[in-house]
């Protein structure tokens, strides 16, 4: 049993009024996906106040970066968001390339996009599956995981590993793909279209599932901006903000894809169901993008010359990409002399999502707390880094 004294050591605790009870949800709790902790003040089933407590998975990734050359930091970016590792690799590589002014061969860019879109599907599968599981449906989660296995098989062919791919290099990628990779990807996409239909019939249109998510945890567009939401969570609130369009990188301007937005399909704009359905639609869009990549990719070099001792010019650089959980920005400060960064700051979508919890949780039921939190698709290592 936790005492108030234990809690006070980390977060400020306010006195309990009336019938309130203090409940410690996490850091080890089935629905907090990793180690995230909320301190809930419950009045019966209603959550009166809530204090999110982050930091249990802090690994000083940003500090580690200061002690090593730029290229050595690449494997650490995998661990920023282990569900979407290639996206994080890509974000870091693009930031360094922007600062150093490095050129990237065409095929390498295509491969990067391919990897990151595959990883986006991978990540959204986990997101929607975990959401389904948190509202009590186990089977959709396992089905999502099953499809994710196929993606991880593809990623294994492409990058050499299933997770924590460490795929992207400065000015290139670490390895080219084998000949049959594209046909295998095509085969997977054909299968995945069918799967998405089945998944929708199984859970997306399920009455109980819709009832559990609609009008729960409504975040309006203004609120979402004030919480500095980004990515799918922001789009679900009705703001069509996608960095692949607004601040393009790689060959995304050439790609033909839609930006799904929350329209309150079952309830209100910005409710949990919108966040769910935006992710489902984004998977469809990612499939579209991958198909285009497959048709456009050409033979060519995958790596261009990078100086052995990479020293970034003095100054600051910030580059942002659209990761599955929102804007992933790498802010690199270089002193112009050292081969390692002076400071790296990583801006992640999950951390921004966490800022909304204290306000949105107010007045929710315990079951909704879980549903709202799952609908944000927060990954613990991305929050704490």
């Amino acid at each position: 049993m936790i005492t108030e004294k234990d809690v006070q050591s980390r977060v400020e605790i306010t006195p309990l009024n009336g019938n309130e009870i203090l409940v410690n949800m996490g850091p080890h709790h089935p629905s907090t996906h990793g180690v995230i902790r909320f301190i809930l003040y419950l009045d019966g089933e209603i959550c009166v106040r809530a204090v999110p407590d982050v930091g249990y998975l802090h690994r000083s990734i940003e500090k580690i970066a200061e002690g090593m050359p730029y290229s050595f930091f690449m494997p650490y970016t995998d661990r920023v968001d282990y569900v979407a590792a290639v996206n994080c690799n890509l974000g870091y590589a693009l930031a360094v390339e922007q600062a150093a002014g490095l050129e990237v061969p065409e095929r390498a860019t295509w491969l990067r996009m391919l990897g990151s879109e595959l990883n986006r599907i991978n990540s959204h599968l986990i997101g929607v599956g975990a959401l389904a599981m948190d509202v009590g449906a186990t089977t959709p989660f396992v089905h999502a995981i099953r499809e994710r296995e196929y993606i991880m098989d593809l990623l294994e062919i492409q990058t050499g590993t299933r997770m924590n791919n460490n795929y992207v290099r400065f000015s290139g990628v670490c390895q080219d793909v084998p000949q049959d990779f594209f046909s295998k990807t095509e085969k997977f996409l054909n299968h995945f279209d069918l799967f998405l239909g089945e998944f929708d019939r199984l859970i997306s249109t399920n009455k109980i599932f819709v009832e559990r998510l609609k009008n729960v945890g409504i975040v309006t567009g203004d609120q979402a901006l004030s919480y500095s939401f980004s990515g799918p969570n922001l789009r679900a609130s009705g703001i069509g903000h996608d960095l692949r369009r607004l601040d393009p990188y790689c060959f995304y301007p050439d790609m033909d894809f839609d930006i799904p937005q929350g329209v309150g399909i079952k309830g209100t704009v910005g409710d949990s169901y919108d966040r769910y359905i935006v992710r489902i639609e984004e998977m469809v869009e990612s499939v579209k993008i991958i198909r285009q990549i497959l048709s456009k990719i050409k033979e060519g070099p995958i790596q261009s010359k990078v100086p052995k001792k990479l020293v970034l010019p003095e100054g600051e650089t910030y580059h942002r990409t659209e990761a599955p959980r929102g804007e992933l920005g790498f802010h690199i400060v270089s002193d112009g002399k050292s081969t390692s960064p002076y400071r790296i700051k990583i801006r992640t979508g999950s951390f921004a999502s966490m800022t909304s919890l204290a306000e949105v949780f107010k007045g929710m039921m315990v079951a909704d707390v879980v549903a709202y939190f799952a609908s944000l698709d927060v990954v613990a290592p991305e929050v704490d880094r």
Binding site: D134, T138, N206, V366
Partner: protein, 386 residues
């Protein structure tokens, strides 16, 4: 001790063992079914096709340290699982698995079952409270609210059956039905069909099964009332839950699906059920078990498909829909029975129409499954033992 008492004791021990073993097997069956639904195998290592996995599980649980939290209320914490198990086990007493396969032929059988099933609440609440854990307490309170609420629609549904059968004795309720689907209460008239649906849903809710498993809602309350339990005591909660599946299946079979009545009259000219030769008695017993386990399968199937309701939605379903519909139907059945006498022409037509509708819905279901499989290009693996 009289001879009768000794017989009762022997029966009791046999029932207890049978229920425990059945519940154990059901855990394995459930996991295998879940595995099949989730594109995985499930337990298949211990024994042929994992059939005695539950023995291994029990042995494992028995070896665990019996942990009682320091701040828990020791005595109540200890007895809670047994109260729950007892509540489930005692409901089996008046259920006729066959004309002779029952422990006690109670005239107030249905009252008894309703009373005993609410007994479980006490155990769950004690378990939740005595654990001195807030998650457990929340789970215990939720289960109390849920079970007591759903007693009412269940009782209303049962009332309809009692009105039809004119008795609260399970044997007589079974005898009031027949072997053919047209004679089953579920297809007798629209009100009994509603009663069946209400009863089945309420039974799911009382058994803490998905979509009504909010007392142990894993993602919300960690594990609800049994969070602090481990080893043997946890096993008893577990046994009670799976034993309850059998109870739900058996009750539904008895009340709405004609119990173990078989088509004796088609085979031999002995019209009076309850006086068949032994082989037909055995046949009826297995027929009853078949129906029971069909419903157990349906419950398992529902569990691995549906999400969980929220507590207020759960209460809405009960008080805003099921109770009014149940009241309406129990009024309706009385009028129906007054207006349309049994075995009149209209009654027969209604029965046949209802049964055909039931059969049609089964056909439609299979068509939907077939179409879905076509759309998703799914492959059908007929062999359940892969």
């Amino acid at each position: 001790m009289t001879t009768e008492n000794i017989y009762m004791l022997v029966y009791g021990v046999i029932y207890l063992l049978l229920l425990a073993v059945t519940a154990g097997i059901l855990t394995v069956v459930e996991r295998r079914i879940a595995g099949r639904m989730q594109s995985r195998i499930g337990p298949n290592r211990v024994g042929p096709q994992g059939a005695i996995q539950f023995v291994a599980d029990v042995i494992k649980a028995l070896q665990k340290e019996d942990i009682i939290p320091t701040d828990a209320y020791g005595f109540l914490f200890k007895i809670a699982p047994y109260l729950v198990f007892m509540g489930v086990f005692l409901t089996l007493v008046p259920i006729p698995f066959g004309a002779y396969v029952l422990m006690e032929d109670l005239d107030l059988g249905i009252y008894y079952v309703l009373a005993m099933s609410s007994y479980v609440v006490i155990g769950l609440m004690i378990g939740g409270w005595a654990s001195n854990n807030k998650w457990s307490l929340l789970g215990g309170m939720r289960s109390a609210a849920q079970k007591i609420s759903y007693e009412i629609p269940a009782a209303l549904a049962v009332f309809i059956v009692v009105a039809m059968a004119g008795s609260m004795n399970f044997q007589k309720i079974v005898l009031a039905q027949g072997a053919s689907p047209v004679d089953w209460f579920v297809f007798r008239n629209p009100f009994t069909f509603i009663a069946f649906n209400i009863f089945f849903i309420a039974a799911l809710a009382e058994g803490n099964r998905v979509p009504f498993d909010i007392p142990e809602a894993e993602s919300e309350l960690v594990s609800g009332y049994n969070t602090e339990y481990s080893g043997m005591r946890f096993l008893f909660f577990f046994l009670a839950e799976w034993g309850n599946l059998v109870v739900i299946g058996a009750l539904v079979t008895c009340l709405f699906f004609g119990g173990g009545t078989f088509w004796y009259e088609w085979v031999v000219s002995i019209p009076a059920p309850g006086r068949e030769p032994l082989q037909f008695e055995v046949l009826g017993f297995f027929w009853f078990l078949f129906k029971t386990f069909f419903f157990v399968f349906v419950i398992i199937w529902i569990r691995w498909t549906l999400p969980r309701l929220r507590i207020d939605q759960l209460m809405d379903v009960c008080w805003k829909y099921m109770v009014p519909i149940g009241l309406f139907s129990s009024l309706g059945i009385v009028i129906w029975m007054y207006v349309i006498p049994e075995n009149s022409g209209i009654d027969r037509v209604v029965r046949i129409v209802m049964t055909s509708l039931g059969a049609l819905s089964v056909v439609y279901f299979h068509y939907r499954v077939y179409r879905n499989m076509k759309v998703t290009k799914a492959v059908f693996y007929a062999n359940p033992f892969v």
